[in-house]
């Protein structure tokens, strides 16, 4: 996609000065300055946005990292922290005038405290690696973003990552008890504790989803949960999306909180079935997978109730996976939905809005209209339990103009989410990608408050500048400032 905010590269003299200073702090293998070394850091998981950083550092100790950050502060060099680089909103997109601070060498699990159900890990540890290390104790780390095999826990905190088990087990913010951060002044601070609260403002929560704009995360303590003894999954198919949505609402209204509740529309079902051969009924308009976990007793009782609701809701077919192999197969279809859709089209663009679940049928219908209008196909996967919708727009980047069209349509979808009372991002973050839509979701006073809050941490705006929170000028240019009683807010601001 076109990056519309051009950033001038770092001046050669400053770059020389920066590299000389960093060479005193870091061993040579931790300092990358050559073009071929910098190229792999040009983008994160949103690969259509690319920029080359001036310098990449890969510190190995917190002391080195503190010194790197202090050097950047002293030279007024922007710092972009980067975990595994799997983010989908361009949050770790480098700056040509800045330093990318890779946390990949902080990859150690420091402690699995099984007695107190906690794990202390470095930020570069992969999400799934935590659960793997905890498994011998019968414990696991609950948030499971779909990139969990590769994404790192520091990035999970920075984005407040979710996953398919959020409704029952929460987001990253609900499962982290302490973080250590390095501020732009190079100060090492501890937020949260191993107790259940700390006095003062909840800075631990604030770090979650702050997208590297407030501090650099250098250690994370997560809560571990005992693994449920039993998990069963039911597949229910419907000839009408509205019926599927209503049945989801009925399950939750009946007092059942499924561990996972994932819905797919026809386009996604067909793609997933072709790819994974998982036994999805491809003639359905929608299906959902409903996973229940707990003790055998609980799961059996709840499954009986869910089946009754699914039948009452007019499902065209339903079945409970008979064994672990079938359960894995049913999930495989859902989990491979993205690559499956990827096979249908040269490129696809994954959106991340959240809507009140009651608005699902309306939103899908509107998206159908947008799809017609733009001539671009859309497949939908939906974390139905918590209203988090991932429309995948299919496009071909080699067709001139299709990229821009896709981006515009994506923006319209996000604005639709806001219109029905939802949000532009449920779990992928704002980053670079959704920065314009922030002007739709928030008014100028709120955006100013965000900037003031950032300034309390980072007065000179050196941590990941230009991401997550738009400037008011940018909103004015985007044309989405809320106009209140015919008055443009902050009329004193220069526009264009």
């Amino acid at each position: 996609m076109s990056l519309d905010n051009h950033v001038e590269p770092m001046l050669p003299a400053l770059r020389r000065q920066l590299i000389d200073a960093l060479a005193l702090i870091l061993p040579p293998h931790c300092l990358l300055t050559e073009d071929n070394q910098l190229a792999p850091y040009e983008s994160d998981g949103l690969a259509v946005y690319r920029r080359r950083p001036a310098v990449v550092t890969l510190p190995e100790t917190v002391q080195q990292l503190q010194a790197v950050v202090r050097t950047c502060r002293d030279l007024s060099v922007p710092v972009v922290a980067r975990g595994a680089g799997t983010g989908l909103s361009g949050g770790a997109l480098p700056r040509p005038d800045g330093l990318t601070l890779g946390l990949g060498k902080f990859n150690k699990i420091l402690q699995i405290d099984a007695d107190n159900t906690a794990a202390v890990v470095q930020p570069g540890v992969r999400n799934l690696a935590i659960s793997e290390a905890a498994a011998p104790h019968g414990l696991y780390y609950a948030p499971d973003p779909s990139s969990q095999i590769a994404c790192s826990i520091g990035g999970n905190v920075a984005e407040n990552a979710g996953g398919v088990h959020c409704l029952k087990y929460g987001l990253t913010v609900h499962n982290v008890i302490q973080v250590k951060i390095v501020t732009i002044d190079g100060e090492l601070l501890t937020l949260g504790s191993h107790a259940l609260d700390t006095p003062g403002y909840d800075l631990l929560a604030l770090m979650h989803g702050s997208e590297g704009l407030l501090a650099v995360i250098v250690e994370v303590t997560v809560k571990l949960l005992p693994a449920p003894p039993v998990a069963k999954v039911l597949l229910a198919a419907f000839d009408d999306v509205q019926k599927a949505g209503d049945t989801v609402a009925a399950i939750i209204a009946a007092g059942i909180i499924p561990a996972g509740l994932e819905m797919m529309d026809k386009a996604a079902i067909v793609a997933a079935e072709a790819f994974a051969k998982c036994g999805y009924p491809t003639d359905s308009a929608a299906l959902f997978l409903c996973e229940l976990d707990g003790s055998e007793q609980e799961v059996d009782e709840q499954m009986a109730a869910v089946i009754a609701l699914v039948e009452a809701g007019g499902a065209s077919s339903h079945r409970v996976a008979a064994d672990e192999a079938e359960r894995a197969k049913l999930w495989k279809g859902r989990k491979s939905a993205f690559p499956a859709v990827g096979r249908l089209s040269p490129d696809y663009y994954c959106m991340d809005g959240t809507i009140p679940r009651s608005q699902l049928a309306h939103v899908l219908a509107k998206m159908g209209e947008l799809s017609q209008e733009y001539g671009l196909q859309v497949a939908n996967v939906f974390h139905a339990g918590d209203g988090n919708l991932h429309p995948l727009i299919l496009f071909d980047a080699d067709v001139p103009g299709e990229l821009a069209k896709t981006e515009e349509m994506g923006g319209k979808i996000l604005e639709l989410c806001v219109d029905v009372g939802g949000t532009i991002t449920g779990e992928h973050g704002v980053g670079m990608e959704k920065i314009n839509q922030m002007c739709v979701q928030f008014g100028p006073d709120e955006i100013q408050q965000f900037h003031a809050l950032k300034a309390a941490f980072d007065p000179h705006g050196l941590l990941n500048p230009g991401k997550a929170i738009p400037t008011l000028q940018r909103c004015a240019e985007f044309g989405a400032l809320h106009v209140h009683r015919g008055q443009v807010p902050h009329p004193d601001l220069e526009r264009f």
Partner: protein
């Protein structure tokens, strides 16, 4: 009292305070006036009590939005009619307690270690900042990462960052049944037992200990808790809902004591504490109520050594109500305060003597 959107009048009062360089003390039901630093500068009250009413309740979306002055009792009744609850069991400490006051104080009840804290159930807020701007953060959906998590920042901020106008919270199904098991144990045995249970998948939603007896609350389907109760053994407590409510609201005889009441917040696995006075343990041992005349530094240092902190919850007279473990955080917190309330209008001296 009728539902009323009193935003305009509240905004007017804040604007006036700014113009007249006055400070304001925010009051909801005024049930938690005792909480926080007591040597506060005298200032004008601004009341959210008339700004009340449930604005949006969607049981199937697990969502409730209410104005800050809405009494907790009203919310509880409405939820109960739909078999739902606030799973963090907010204590009220008075019939007039409001949703706004509860969230501002950041208080959670006995279910906290098992179901999460007040902040974990918050989805979004509206507030007036210190410039009298009405702002909305978060929203009414379960997953939302647009902008900084400013909503959760308000929980426990004691109203120092702004006046909460409205809050949206996640509500959950009420358990079909609950049962409380009593075991006669020494404190050390009881703490050891909950340690072992912590790493098993069990439907525990409460654990407290006082005077030789531990109480374990199980909740869920009737059959399931019956099976778990057989496994854990012990006697069953009759009318147990009342007991947990009395614990939540500090209405147990234990709390009827003139000595200062300390709240000790400790990591799980902390052994029995040898401090003078009487103790009641809650939250699986992670929250311990201490009635004691011991010196503040003695209590606070002990908790800090163990990785926790102690706060003077009620009574006593000194200024060391809250214990900041990392002093380096204080200037940062002060800058955050200034970013929301640059003229220091709201609740001076309540959270910190510095602002």
């Amino acid at each position: 009292m009728a539902d009323l959107d009193n935003t305009a009048a509240l905004q007017e009062q804040v604007l006036q305070a700014i113009a007249e360089k006055q400070q304001l003390e925010i009051q909801g039901g005024n049930s938690k006036h005792f909480y926080g630093l007591q040597q506060r500068p005298a200032c004008q009250a601004i009341s959210t009590a008339t700004h009340r009413g449930v604005v949006n309740y969607q049981p199937a979306e697990l969502l409730l939005t209410a104005r800050a002055g809405t009494p907790l009792t009203e919310i509880r009744e409405l939820l109960a009619a739909n078999n739902q609850v606030m799973a963090f069991e907010p204590p009220g400490f008075g019939a007039q307690a409001t949703l706004g006051g509860t969230l501002a104080c950041g208080l959670s009840g006995p279910a906290r270690p098992f179901a999460g804290a007040a902040r974990d159930h918050l989805l979004g807020i509206r507030l007036l900042n210190g410039q009298a701007q009405a702002l909305r953060f978060g929203g009414e959906v379960m997953k939302n990462v647009a902008g900084y998590d400013t909503s959760r920042l308000m929980v426990g901020a004691m109203g120092t960052l702004g006046l909460m106008l409205e809050a949206s919270i996640k509500v959950l199904p009420a358990p079909a049944a609950q049962q409380t098991l009593i075991h006669e144990r020494t404190e050390s045995e009881a703490l050891g037992a909950i340690e072992r249970l912590r790493s098993s998948y069990l439907p525990i939603t409460g654990w407290c200990y006082a005077e030789g007896r531990s109480f374990i609350r199980l909740a869920g389907s009737e059959k399931n808790i019956a099976a778990v109760a057989r496994q854990l053994g012990g006697e069953t407590l009759g009318r147990d809902a009342q007991r947990w409510q009395a614990l939540r609201e500090h209405q147990l005889p234990f709390f009827n004591d003139p000595r200062p009441l300390w709240r000790l917040s400790l990591p799980s696995g902390t052994p029995p504490l040898n401090l003078s006075g009487r103790q009641l343990l809650d939250w699986g041992g992670c929250q311990r109520w201490l009635l004691s005349d011991a010196d503040a530094p003695l209590i606070q240092n002990k908790c800090a050594e163990l990785g926790g902190h102690a706060e003077l919850f009620k009574g006593g007279s000194n200024q060391s109500v809250f214990q900041y473990i990392d002093e380096a955080l204080i200037p940062l917190q002060q800058r955050i305060k200034a970013s929301f309330d640059p003229a220091n209008i709201f609740n001076p001296g309540r959270l910190s003597a510095e602002w």
